[in-house]
Amino acid sequence: MTAPLLSVRGLTVDYRVGRGRLRAVDHVDLDLEQGETLAVIGESGSGKSTIASALLRLVPVAGGSVEFDGLDWASLRGAALRRERHRMQFVPQDAGSSLDPRWRVRESVAEPLVVAGKPLRQAREQAGTMLDRVGLEGPLQERFPHQLSGGQRQRVAIARALVSRPRLVICDEAVSALDVSLQAEIVNLLVELRAERDLTYVFITHDIALLPYVADRVGVLYLGQVVESGPARDVLVDPQHPYTQGLLSSLPGAHAAGGADRPVRGEIPDPANPPTGCRFHPRCPVAVDGCPEFEPAAVAVSPAHSAACHLLGPQSETPGRTADPLVPPPSSLLRKARS
């Protein structure tokens, strides 16, 4: 047994807002094997990008440990951090603002290589090949970011992340701004490159419809906490947490495909002021008496699949939620699942 490539324990991130403090990520555990893709899903404001920033060491961490590629990642500092940074790369949500507007895009893609000590000519050449690979060819490579369309800029960002051959790539809504055809192309490309270059991905998205094409594992985030995690197929076909069930039922076609039609009501609360007990209780359609009082612990429903909900706890009579009259049977949302 090899150790996982990424192992996160108790990751906690606070932001200062005004005179107060906001806990955007609260004791998150994640494990990711080499070559896998972990999708992180959850509503806007649930803390997805903050997890990315924390892993990338762009925001200070208030607590927890991160082991990555055999390194005690969260405690790397200064020169050591600079030396190892290339191992983890990032494809951001809005590529437009992440590229230097004064540089031709090929230079932007070459930059990480130059920083790592590659001769300029070789770096440019490699950048050109990488840009070809993501579908940005010829004269387009010599343009400035503002001279490209939104989708073209996103391809540049992907090339820039992959060019230095990282071990782990964090994609934050990397394809949500793309048209369907390009989205398909980039997703397929990411999947191919994963095999080709032995990559591992953290794939942050609100677009659940993409998960079947990319994800091996899924972590569902609610108000900074992981409420359910497991193999992608298990989580999507048989979601255990009422929040996951709600998220899935908002998918177009989910209802027709037999999914429970129970979209999440209301809005995600401000993390500066989280609800007591189970943080989901004010919006939960099946909450019971104890929910506003006690925080639920993660319960394993199978060796790799767990969820944090009181209804799954030992006190409820059945291990699953299928026998509970309040909860509809597992959705067969993903009907035609490959066997």
Binding site: V17, G18, E43, S44, G45, S49, Q93, D94, G96, S97, G135, E137, G138, P139, L140, E142, Q147, S149, G150, G151, Q152, E173, S176, A177, L178, D179, V180, S181, L182, Q183, A184, E185, V187, N188, V191, H206, D207, A209, L210, P212, Y213, R233, S250, L251, P252, G253, A254, A257, P263, V264, E267, I268, P269, D270, A272, L334, R335, K336, A337, R338
Partner: protein, 334 residues
């Protein structure tokens, strides 16, 4: 409540640079009636944003030539002086930009940005404008709008930022709104809420919306008409239900087929092979020909946008037989 029609007539947008010229939009004609929503769809780089920016007079004249005509009510949108275009943008005409960070001022709280727009437009005092701004923030689904009013753009998540920008754009109650990929960073429930809100503003206040999007689902949900663009040209126009249920241009059909499905386990998404041609390497005849499964000999002739019945136009020589054989409809596309 009456509104105005947007009539776009032979619009062209040409970018000039040291390396040459690039015709991003060619001869595009379409209309957005008062109180109607029209979806503008097409692959990345097909010229959607370039079209939207042209309508708002936002292209840099030093590097860009905009040709043709665009009229909103009795205003000639392309003939305005920069100052007049500026005035129009703050009032009758609004735009939601593709990239929220570039559209919001990082130095001002989102509340200030929305309420300043309201103050400028409706002449309210600071207090009243603040209340109004909070109301608009709530309408776009900003949770805890009074609290978020005091936050700066960088303190918001991507989705909240996008909602703040939408609020700023609709705060001045534009009569024409160009919305460029307005909901890409949003959750499905919020997407639906925003689209419904735009639809309501059309229905109740006669606002006209050009919805630029790659999300054909969104178009299907709210738009009256669809315009498909390919490589800078309009290739299909028609009522949404008919175009999406029975696309007559092979390109529209392929766009429909490339959408992810919830049951696509371990599959590859159905990509349209090849790429949008660069203007310098345009194929002869139909621009879609090298990528088209339906191409025949006659496709090497240049294709014109041809009316098909009263409300549809298609730029494809095979539009009529594709319909008869059902090839262009979803059934034949896998």
């Amino acid at each position: 409540m009456g509104g105005d029609d947007l009539v776009v007539d032979h619009l062209s947008v040409v970018f000039r640079s040291r390396t040459g010229t690039h015709a991003a939009v060619r001869d595009a004609s379409f209309e957005v009636g008062a109180g109607r929503m029209v979806g503008l769809v097409g692959e990345s780089g097909s010229g959607k944003t370039a079209t939207g920016l042209a309508l708002l007079g936002l292209h840099d004249p030093a590097t860009t030539t905009v040709g043709g005509r665009a009229r909103f009510g009795d205003v000639d949108l392309l003939g305005l002086s920069p100052a007049a275009a500026d005035r129009l943008r703050g009032s009758a005409v609004g735009m939601i930009f593709q990239d929220p960070m570039t559209a919001l001022n990082p130095l001002l709280t989102i509340g200030t940005q929305v309420s300043e727009t309201i103050r400028a437009h409706e002449g309210l005092d600071r207090r009243a404008a603040r209340d109004k701004a909070i109301e608009v923030l709530a309408r776009v689904g900003m949770p805890d709008p009074a609290g978020r009013y005091r936050r700066y753009p960088h303190e918001l998540s991507g989705g909240l930022r996008q909602r703040a920008m939408i609020a700023a754009a609709i705060a001045c109650r534009p009569r024409l709104l160009v919305a460029d990929e307005p909901t890409t960073a949003l959750d499905l429930t919020i997407q639906a809420q925003i689209l419904r809100l735009l639809r309501t503003l059309c229905d109740e206040e006669g606002m006209s919306v050009l919805l630029i999007t790659h999300d054909l689902g969104a178009v299907g949900a709210v738009c009256d008409d669809v315009v498909t663009m390919y490589a800078g040209e309009v290739v299909e126009i028609g009522p949404t239900t008919r175009v999406l249920d029975q696309p007559r241009h092979p390109y529209t059909a392929r766009l429909m087929a490339a959408r992810p499905r919830v049951d696509g386990w371990g599959e590859h998404l159905d990509v349209i092979p090849g790429r949008v041609p660069s203007p310098s390497a345009s194929p002869e005849g139909c621009l879609f020909r090298p990528r088209c499964r339906e191409a025949r000999d006659e496709c090497v002739e240049p294709q014109k946008l041809v009316a098909l019945g009263t409300s549809r136009s298609v730029r494809c020589v095979r539009a009529a037989d594709l319909h008869d054989s059902g090839v262009a409809a979803g059934a034949g596309i896998r």
